[in-house]
């Protein structure tokens, strides 16, 4: 049994990663909660965001945190366009079709990235990349600490948008009662695309916060997509608070799993949680039985 | 033939079945009536294994079938139809009916032959090769009946097979139901169309808010004070009686 001096840093590391996972999962759960579809291209779109941040940094010298002003809005537009132009037209009444179409999109996006950027691992070099913060005797990389608080602030901002703005009200109305919302004059296609755009914008934010302490390759999204699904399922499909807590739990499970089982086997813990939750509590840990 | 004893079921705080006890005798058409939301379909779902009752038991042909799976109950000779029709869309009428026929027929040829025979019996003989999705509401209702009939059941539970049909369509279907009874199959039906209940069924059970409030022949039921009140509201029975008194 490793002692506290190893467990505590590992735990804190898990929490910082978990907050980012939560932000990524928030985007997914927002899309699920409103459109009732599962966006399989979520990981691939995160990868697009990461490349955008990398590109802005290496070619134009823009700091990843400054890119927060550029990348999330651009991702929003991308998401809006994808939903309106492709995803929204593909279901033919079966939700599996959406899954197939978003799977197809993720394959296209990933392989285009492979074509343009090749499979090299890319990182950004910032002055603060190797700075650390001491907390509870553990030294945490500064970018991860910033990411942790950035993710929490973004989640709070998203919550404000959803609860206080007209857009948020329209989104919630249409999520609950599509026909009724359309009758009172809400344009469903527009609101759906706005929700999808918001969900993808979350990925833009996550990309800016993530890259200073991480890397990007064309297949980097793989690792995130099932993790995000696991969090969404764990927290209860469509639940905001659930996604936040679920993200933190998964971050910690991954960190401790890696510590006790080794890097490779540690990942299994997440998939096993995913399978078990879907089998036994598909309504999520916090959800109510339907 | 079918005995339901003390069935209780609630969803959250809503009690859909309250201590329901009733029997369906062999060889007759028995009906289950009651206002909307009185728990008729929920009761059917519990009888046929789609829902598990919280308490109570269902006996069919002397065997306790409470909590059995729907397919196990169907194999024992009790099948149901659905109020909201559930065709296998994309398959032809013949293929739809053959699914039922396969219950006791392993051979594809036998099942298809049986499907054709049943289709003629319910008046779908001219639409055998049409996609089930292209049928009218009346056609789909007939398809529900045909599929159930093709399983060679001993007891059929019809869940509002006449709902949504116009008067002339109802007139066409009533002989089909009577013919099924004539062939020795017992029928237990939920029905809203009172005309059909009166002309078809020999005995009725009335459900209101999950409870059996009356039973008897249809003629007795329609004059039952509790039944009239359940359907039309408090005090109606008295007013109707008064009015009839004046006219008499």
């Amino acid at each position: 049994m490793p002692d506290l001096a190893i467990i505590v840093p590992s735990l804190l590391n898990g929490l910082t990663t978990g907050a980012l996972y939560a932000l990524i999962a928030l985007g997914l759960t927002l899309i699920y909660g409103v459109l009732h579809i599962i966006n399989f291209a979520h990981g691939a779109l995160l990868m697009v965001g990461l490349y955008a941040v990398w590109f802005l940094n290496t070619r134009l010298g823009i700091d990843p945190y400054v890119a927060l002003l550029i990348v999330p809005p651009a991702m929003f537009v991308l998401g809006y366009g994808l939903q309106r132009g492709i995803i929204g037209r593909a279901s033919h009444g079966r939700d599996e079709n959406i899954l197939l179409v978003t799977l197809g999109l993720s394959i296209v996006i990933e392989n285009l990235a492979l074509y343009f950027f090749r499979s090299d691992t890319r990182i950004v070099d910032t002055p603060y990349s190797f700075e650390t913060v001491e907390f509870l005797g553990a030294f945490l990389p500064l970018p991860k600490v910033i990411a942790f608080f950035g993710a929490l602030i973004s989640a709070a901002a998203l919550w404000l948008v959803m609860s206080k703005t007209d857009l948020g009200r329209a989104i919630r109305a249409i999520a609950r009662e599509r026909k009724g919302a359309q009758l009172v004059g809400i344009n469903a296609d527009h609101v759906y695309a706005m929700s999808f755009g918001l969900g993808i914008a979350c990925l833009g934010v996550a990309a800016c916060l993530l890259l200073p302490s991480y890397y990007v390759t064309p297949s980097v999204g793989h690792g995130f997509v099932l993790i995000a699904f696991t969090i969404v399922v764990l927290g209860g499909m469509g639940s905001f608070v659930g996604a936040l807590i679920g993200g933190l739990i998964i971050g910690v499970v991954e960190a401790l799993g890696g510590l006790f089982l080794g890097e490779s086997l540690g990942q299994i813990g997440i998939f096993v949680i995913f399978i078990l939750v879907l089998m036994f509590r598909p309504q999520g840990l916090l959800g109510h039985k339907v | 033939m079918l005995e339901i004893r003390g069935i209780c079921k609630s969803f959250g705080g809503v009690r859909a079945s309250r201590d329901v006890t009733l029997t369906v005798p062999e060889g007759h058409i028995t009906s289950l009536i009651g206002p909307n939301g009185s728990g008729k379909t929920t009761l059917f779902a519990q009888i046929t294994g789609f829902l598990k009752p919280d308490a109570g038991s269902v006996h069919f042909l002397g065997e306790d079938i409470t909590g059995m799976a729907p397919e196990a109950i169907a194999r024992r000779g009790m099948v149901r139809t659905f109020q909201i029709v559930q065709p296998f869309t994309g398959q032809t009428v013949r293929e739809n009916i053959a699914v039922g026929a396969h219950l006791h027929r392993a051979s594809r040829a036998d099942a298809l032959a049986r499907a054709e025979e049943v289709a003629h019996r319910v008046g779908l003989g001219d639409r055998l090769d049409l996609d089930a999705a292209s049928l009218t509401v009346a056609g789909r209702k007939r398809l529900e009946v045909a599929r159930a009939l093709a399983t060679d059941p001993k007891l059929i539970l019809f869940d509002e097979v006449l709902a949504g049909l116009n008067p002339s369509e109802i007139r066409d279907v009533i002989p089909v139901i009577r013919d099924i009874r004539q062939s020795g199959i017992t029928i237990f039906m939920i029905e809203h169309v009172m005309q059909a209940v009166m002309s078809l069924s020999e005995y009725s059970w009335v459900l209101n808010q999950g409870e059996v409030i009356a039973e008897g022949t249809p003629a007795e039921i329609v004059t039952d004070e509790k039944v009239i009140e359940a359907y039309l509201g408090k005090g109606m029975a008295k007013r109707i009686a008064e009015r009839q008194g004046i006219h008499a």
Binding site: I38, D95, L100, V101, L265, I268, I275 | P70, A111, L130
Partner: protein
């Protein structure tokens, strides 16, 4: 019966290919088309006929492939025996995954995601344990000879995959003309209605996933013997799962000939892009993805559906009434 005749003619025609075509390159293309058709037909049983969309068919493929490879390398078991054991193992994995998902009523997108998760678990496991060669992979030593299922000419592999693929098509033909198939289609189209008519939905879905896993496993076994190398990413990675579903979706889900059409079309597309653009990483897969999107959006019934529609139109033009 008509379908069985067409099937016999098509496969007899394919069987004549090695006698006519002597080019190793073309023979290899035909072998890979048959192999893809087998992979797709396996998925088609569960996805097309059963309506259960699996995103993790690599679980069965990889199990078949690893079983035959590991048995040879670690225990010296002959691959022909390995074929039988590998097929059974694939079926057992399918039975396990089927039990875990169908028992708990997972459907639609949830089923798809859970199957993907199972395949990923197997990928990580095969990457972490020693007897599979872990991340380095496993190399089947060269031992040419039909007795070792390592044929000296392409023709030998051709007839092996021909037999395997034909057997999958015969099983699917049987599905289309049996009580099992009728029950499976009924469960696909409306599970509640099927159960009300006495169909044991759980048992039918279990049957479908096990048959599906069996043929997927056979494809994996063929792959292992043909290429003599496996690693966790090849065997259990998402590429195989995607190819498994792409083939029948392009060709036409729930149809007998869909997987063959899809496999052929996919190879035509990938060969054509290789001719036009060259062997650039990413492009042919990007095209696969785009095809998937386009098919689901605009041709949900696949090439087989397109052909059927053309057939109906032609018959209508010649004054003959289409059947149904």
């Amino acid at each position: 019966m008509r379908q069985l005749v067409i099937l016999a003619v098509v496969f007899a025609f394919i069987a004549a290919a090695p006698a006519i075509i002597t080019s190793e390159f073309t023979q290899n293309v035909i072998i890979m088309v048959l192999y893809a058709a087998l992979l797709g037909q396996a998925w088609n049983i569960l996805g097309g006929y059963g309506g259960q969309f699996s995103f993790g068919h690599a679980a069965y493929f990889g199990t078949g492939a690893y079983t035959v490879a590991v048995l040879q390398v670690q225990l010296g078991v002959n691959p022909w025996i390995g074929l039988v054991i590998g097929a059974l193992f694939s079926m057992a994995v399918a039975a396990f995954i089927g039990f875990a998902t169908f028992r708990y009523g997972l459907r639609g997108s949830y089923f798809a995601l859970v199957t993907l998760a199972f395949a990923e678990v197997l990928r990580i496991l095969s990457n972490s344990v020693g007897f599979t060669g872990a991340g380095v992979g496993i190399l089947i030593p060269l031992a040419p000879g039909a007795a070792n299922m390592q044929f000296e000419t392409k023709t030998g592999f051709f007839f092996l995959i021909w037999v395997l693929t034909l057997s999958s098509f015969l099983v699917v033909w049987w599905i289309g003309h049996s009580r099992f198939g009728a029950s499976l289609a009924a469960v696909r189209d409306n599970e509640d209605a099927a159960r009300a008519l006495g169909v044991n939905a759980f048992r039918v879905k279990m049957g479908a996933i096990m048959l599906s896993g069996l043929f997927s496993g056979l494809a994996g076994i063929f792959y292992a013997q043909y290429f003599l190398y496996l690693d966790p990413y090849i065997a259990y990675g998402p590429a195989i799962s995607v190819e498994s579903l792409l083939v029948p979706i392009i060709g036409g889900m729930g149809t007998l000939f869909g997987p063959l059409l899809g496999a052929a079309a996919l190879h035509v597309v990938s060969e054509a892009t290789r001719e036009l653009i060259g062997d650039v990483p990413g492009i042919s897969l990007a095209l696969y993805g785009a095809l998937l999107v386009v098919m689901v959006m605009f041709m949900p019934r696949g090439l087989a559906g397109l052909l059927a529609r053309l057939g109906v139109r032609r018959r209508a033009a010649s004054g003959e009434m289409p059947r149904a």
